[in-house]
Symmetry: C2
């Protein structure tokens, strides 16, 4: 049976329950650090994940611990906050309670910050053949497949099977897809060649498939074409305005064409958590919870949704708030401000409408090469890479991590290496896959 928070101390401070310890939820909690409240932050994992660098875990550049810090550690000095490792299974809006397996937790304010998961646009059957990249475990699975592909190709006697093992398809040309494609090409071209005796890892094909006419569509025009040029000069094959109609154990089908590939990775879209649909509140086509201008849900001013989990509108432009780190941070801080104002006697009816401040966007393309748009300034090439590195390190939570990550990047940059090339998990599973010389992929 779960202990009720502060049941012994008997305080009567308003309780803020936050569900999710990503950028959004964590910023709500941290912004309330001096407020006379009792915060319970619930997450089903014990760590905050710096998602923008997840692709570097997937491609052997960083260890998971470099981009993940325990939520408890981040909030250790914030006396008014408690952390609960658990999963919320339901919400009783009338009783103002969240349900967890161990019992219930009453709230005065509830903040839903549960983020998004991969979307296969109605084709969940693609998932076993094309894993996505949303969690540490996803990243380790992609890393495992990536490294196994080269191990298998090295000893494959059949030419056609070897080609399929050395073909990597990334579906989705947003920042994650672009970064994955560049990093896989870098791995094959710069890190691995000397380590194999029977294959030339430089002959690996990396194919990036995007449905729209351009890569990284959210970026300014000049950086979009710059990203494309750099990737092409690295040898990445780019297929624009191309839709994937089928993914199976032999590869990908686009229109009439079959691309034989053993390694397909999915970076094409996201949707709200399944949990959101069970709440009886309005969700958009992508499963995000529709919120008002103040980030609360209809008829329940005490329930907010922040970050990627919300379908929110920027009051300044009328555009949707983008599903990026800045959107999560800003909506989180906004909601914390409203709660603080009302604790001091403010009325929920006087809440302002949320306005999004676009601080820019960026994407790493390859070794020492990135594109970055910050305000009206656009950076590419090495300068873009420096900008990208500084901004990402600056926002990494935890000082120890920052130094380690900088050290790793610096080391990898000068040595052309990648330190974290481990195939972990039960060997029985991956060797079984390895042993079958056909192109079957384990699910």
């Amino acid at each position: 049976m779960i202990r009720q928070p502060e049941q012994q101390s008997g305080t009567t401070r308003p309780r803020i329950v936050i569900v999710g310890g990503g950028f959004a939820g964590l910023n709500v909690a941290k912004s309330l650090r001096n407020a006379p409240v009792s915060i319970v932050l619930i997450d089903r994992r014990n760590y905050h994940l710096f998602q923008p660098l997840l692709y570097q875990v997937a491609t052997s550049e960083l260890s998971p611990a470099n981009i993940a810090a325990p939520i408890r550690k981040i909030l250790r000095n914030q006396e008014n906050a408690e952390v609960l490792l658990d999963e919320v299974t339901g919400i009783d809006f009338d009783q103002k309670q969240v349900k967890i397996e161990g019992g219930e937790l009453a709230y005065d304010y509830l903040v839903v910050a549960t983020g998004v998961r991969q979307s296969y646009f109605g084709h969940d059957e693609f998932q076993p053949y094309a894993p996505g990249l949303k969690s540490i475990d996803d990243a380790l699975e992609i890393r495992r497949r990536l490294l196994l592909a080269f191990e298998e190709a090295e000893w494959e006697a059949d030419e056609e099977a070897r080609r399929a093992k050395l073909t990597f398809i990334i579906v989705g040309g947003g920042p994650t897809g672009v970064e994955l494609a560049g990093a896989i090409m870098d791995l094959a071209s710069n890190t691995l060649p000397k380590e194999f005796r029977n294959i030339d890892t430089k002959t690996a094909r990396v194919i990036l498939i995007e449905g729209s006419p351009q890569l990284v569509a959210a970026m300014p025009e000049d950086l979009r074409s710059s990203a494309q040029k750099v990737l092409e000069s690295m040898g990445v094959e780019i297929r624009l305005q191309t839709r994937v109609t089928e993914v199976n154990d032999s590869g990908v089908i686009i229109g009439e064409e079959h691309l034989a590939a053993e390694n397909v990775f999915w970076a094409a879209g996201v949707q709200g958590q399944a949990f959101a649909k069970t709440l009886g509140v309005e969700t958009d086509r992508g499963g995000r919870i529709v919120v008002g201008p103040d980030m609360s849900i209809p008829d329940h001013p005490e329930v907010f949704v922040v970050g990627d989990a919300a379908h929110a509108t920027d009051a300044a432009t009328g555009n949707p708030v983008p599903g990026v780190a800045q959107g999560a941070i800003q909506t989180g801080r906004f909601v914390a401000e409203q709660i603080q104002r009302e604790l001091k006697g403010g009325d929920a009816k006087d809440r302002p409408a949320f306005r999004y401040h676009d601080k820019g966007s960026m994407a790493m393309i390859g070794r020492g090469n990135a594109v970055a748009a910050i305000g009206k300034r656009h950076f590419g090439g090495f300068l873009g890479w420096l900008t990208w590195s500084l901004v990402h390190v600056f926002f990494l939570v935890g000082f120890g991590n920052k130094l380690l990550v900088m050290f790793d990047w610096f080391w990898n940059y000068i040595r052309h290496t990648r330190q974290v090339r481990l195939i972990t998990g039960d060997p029985e599973v991956h060797l079984k896959h390895f042993r079958s010389s056909d192109t079957e992929v384990e699910s």
Copy 2:
């Protein structure tokens, strides 16, 4: 179908097949770097593991990649060596072939370096309740249980259940058991206290159980008692001359006494791989393959067994060669020397008998405290810790790793922190465990 090595090049250099990329196997390969041979090193994992530091992965001090380097990377510049990720399923001594799932590999010399696995002394039913520490995946499992225990205790309403969650039992008082006990106590006493609101992590009980009358029995007398004193001063409860008769979901039974504990870790013994028993060669009680003075098996001078996998005798003292890193390194180099001598025309009948050179032993006890015996010099306390740190970093494979590990140790030492506190794996598994408030342990 597996490609035969060098089937295209058609060379006729003698082929050395090495099974296992630990200290022993890797030292055979590296010592043959200038020999006119064709080496195939087979391992079911793609990395060499620096096992002496595995307990630091289990206790959140280091990331897996800090102590594991791809075997390919280590051998990248050794042109005469190839690496094969696969598992050997049998050996045909008459045909001189090893069997792998993908086919067969012929050898001129075979070196078996398959190491050991955990032994429960005939009580394999203890395993689900008391995981051992032999692989990266073992270490991640122990880390998961360790961190979950505190997460669960923080919200446990029942006093007795909370005590069981905060009780950690380590079975086996060798170096691994001593190091685990010290590190868990350090985690509970120095790293975690500030992060929890409802439990005092310093009240965690760490109980170290050893069957013999002393800890770290292989070390000199003064260091044995020093290790015990330091652990006791840290608060570790030591039970000597104590045998565990039962381990189950409620804890451990020793004689008439039941110790209620949710967390039991096994560091009590090792045995040869199951594979060794299928070969039709003599094995000792611990499943190690019995070898002659030259490390070869009877009637097959072309088949050697090295490292922990071998039951070998030191020709100088008549004692068994100990199952430590130095034993593996030295037997590996010895065998490589014999092969080289015979390639130059030497006769296998003239092989000398292997002599073990004891270079000392050491064990980390706690924060800034270790015991080390090097030759006739004995070090304890901070000086022991410095010795321990320098020796371990010196032997870590891969320069990038060394700097990172030193950085981590230095950082953790001055900050009392541990960076790698991630509970990875499917949340559905660990939350299920968490939700049940009884002391059931998932298997």
